[in-house]
Symmetry: none
Subunit: 217 residues, 4 copies
DNA sequence: ACAGTCGGGACACCCCGTTTGT
DNA sequence: ACAAACGGGGTGTCCCGACTGT
């Protein structure tokens, strides 16, 4: 493992990415002008273009940074040794309660919508981000199943998709309404879903009778 | 009753709106150039600006049209005399199955994300569209409660928000993945939620015991 | 002499000319858009183009109207039977004191400067206006000479040019400074010049000795 | 003394100003399109807008340059040690004889008329130019008074205004007529006025009796 | 290696003056 | 007299490359 030397240029590059991430996440790709990036970074165009071949490349890297930041915020305080369902509830709570730390809203949502027509580069990054997020939930659930905390007929992929879909949709509504109500409701429902996946601790024989067909995924 | 005369200008105006609605819904506001609108409509700039004071005004009217179209597609085959929960299930099914008839995806989702930073005019229209949609679901549920089809402790507003949030989020995921899986999962989940709201026909005395904690609000 | 019938169209045409005259005189030819003329007249473009073949033609007619109006304001209260020099002093006084009745300033000055590069049509009209004005002063002076009020070696054309030049220049300065001082000074000097042209009433033999060479024109 | 470095950009900027000054002085602000400026400078819009924030800013700087050029032409060969009245006569002669070196006519006159309605930026520059010019004449006269060349009851400000007004007005007429006659007449008249201000060299006791009423202020 | 200067070429939105059909 | 549309030009800004200097 070679200790990568961090040059001054790398620092500048990273600074550009961080500043650009905010601009792109707020205004979208087409709505973000290089002038705005210049103002935010304090650099001239030449200074920016030394580090990135094009606006698109910068946008892609900025998205990656924005996504990692958002993801870390949502993984905050997650104890990977805790019960799987508690971890997921914490994840949901972080999504709802810490959303203000992601200025401009969820980069995944924004970029998925923004790159819907063209921009395959951004779209690819967004897909990776989605896979990343789903993957974490899936792994958590699988571990829960393995540990006997979660019922073994649960399809982790489906639960993950439901969580992501509901949270992102609710976030969109909450931002449009400027009211956290939608997120609160989504949180309540999702917590209920998760509770329904739990293996009853005291009645090992009565596995699934209480769960209606309606909530099985 | 004065028969409103439809002039040639009105037809042209409407044609512009319809063509523009597609462009805006696909590419977003900033990504939609007047050149693209010219090409789509076959008119010159002068011909377009005769009917709209600005790009923003055209975008607003195009959004209204796009929304009405999308809404009508989702209300297709909805029998307002049918049981409330059946109506809502049909609404959800239309959302999922007829989504291809709304090119570019849901205008509400797209515009909510696109207008997140500025553009208050578009934002206002998106809010109205959301209120429109939520209102329809709420009214249906209230009618169901009045008819005794739906349990009377249900909060219609919350159900409406859950439905909209989940569907929109799942649509975003499905479009990003280019895979209807997310929408199918959301549909299954929401149908289950709706089933949980039903007043049991055969056991009028056992009102709520069968509903698990998982689906309660 | 055929009694010209004044049709409704003629009235409209005249109304357009009058409204346009203000716009053109204030903003200049290039600075006056048809939109501004539409707003001022309450007509649509088609309505304007019905009466004038082009913007240029309208501007030319508007200038003529503006000039006639300005000229009449300056000829106000001029008694053509009064002594020539008194008439001219009155003309100058009107120019100075009644200037506010010509909104936008002197059309001759404005149009002469405005049409300096191209626009030969407007330029021709401005030349006619200048000839008109000079001609009136010249005729007045000639009459004064014939009547023995004005010395017979005066060159009327030169006096006319001096009066027009000085007044127009002073008007420009006064408008730029937003201060009538320049006009007052010009008026004082010109009155002095006119006084120097008078045939002394009491000393018919001493014709020109008191007038310095400096003020002979 | 820091030697201000002249970069390539500064040279380009100056070139733009000089070329633009001609265009603006000939066609006026509204009549000067960026296309014309592009053609004159050989630059594209991007190249021009790199150096100026707007057309208005460029026009303002172009006016300053045009005025300085015109002023220098009129101050040509002015010996500041010569008698005050001789200096002023030379100034007037320069104005008349060297006018062709100021293509498009006097920038002060043109801009004063052109900016009469709006454009406060240009108007402010024109006012400064007027003050500049008046100030030079006033200072010359005051020096003449101090030296005993000019009568001490002369009001320098009034003489300055008269000179400027008359010359500018005559220039307008001369350009309109395409005939230097008006300027010649103005020159003759103003020279006479200046002669009337002179302190008689040979008759120190008879201070003012020889000055006719005609030239008194 | 890195950043800044300068300019290009294209295009943005919008409004221009004009013609045509009625 | 207007409604409708045209064709082109208005100013301004875009993203980017090439050059210049450190």
């Amino acid at each position: 493992m070679t200790a990568a030397k961090v040059t001054k240029g790398d620092q500048t590059r990273q600074r550009i990415i961080e500043q650009a991430a905010h601009i792109f996440n707020k205004r979208g790709y087409a709505g973000s002008s290089l002038s705005a990036l210049m103002e935010a970074t304090g650099l001239r165009k030449g200074g920016i273009y030394r580090h990135f071949a094009s606006k698109e490349e910068l946008a892609a890297e900025a998205f990656d940074f924005a996504w990692e930041t958002a993801r870390d915020i949502r993984l905050h305080d997650l104890d990977s040794t805790a019960p799987a369902l508690d971890q997921l509830k914490q994840l949901i709570a972080n999504f709802v309660d810490r959303r203000a730390r992601v200025p401009g809203g969820c980069p995944l949502l924004n970029t998925a919508v923004d790159s819907d027509d063209g921009n395959p580069m951004l779209r690819g990054r967004a897909r990776k981000a989605l896979a990343d997020w789903k993957g974490r939930i899936v792994r958590t659930l699988k571990k829960g199943i393995a540990r006997g905390e979660v019922q073994d007929d649960v399809v982790p992929e489906s639960i993950a998709i439901l969580i992501v879909s509901t949270l992102e949709g609710a976030l969109m509504i909450s931002r449009l309404d400027d009211d956290p109500q939608a997120l609160r409701i989504a949180q309540g429902y999702l917590n209920g879903v998760l509770d329904g996946l739990r293996v009853p601790a005291t009645e090992p024989t009565r596995r699934r009778s209480a769960r209606g067909k309606s909530t099985s995924l």
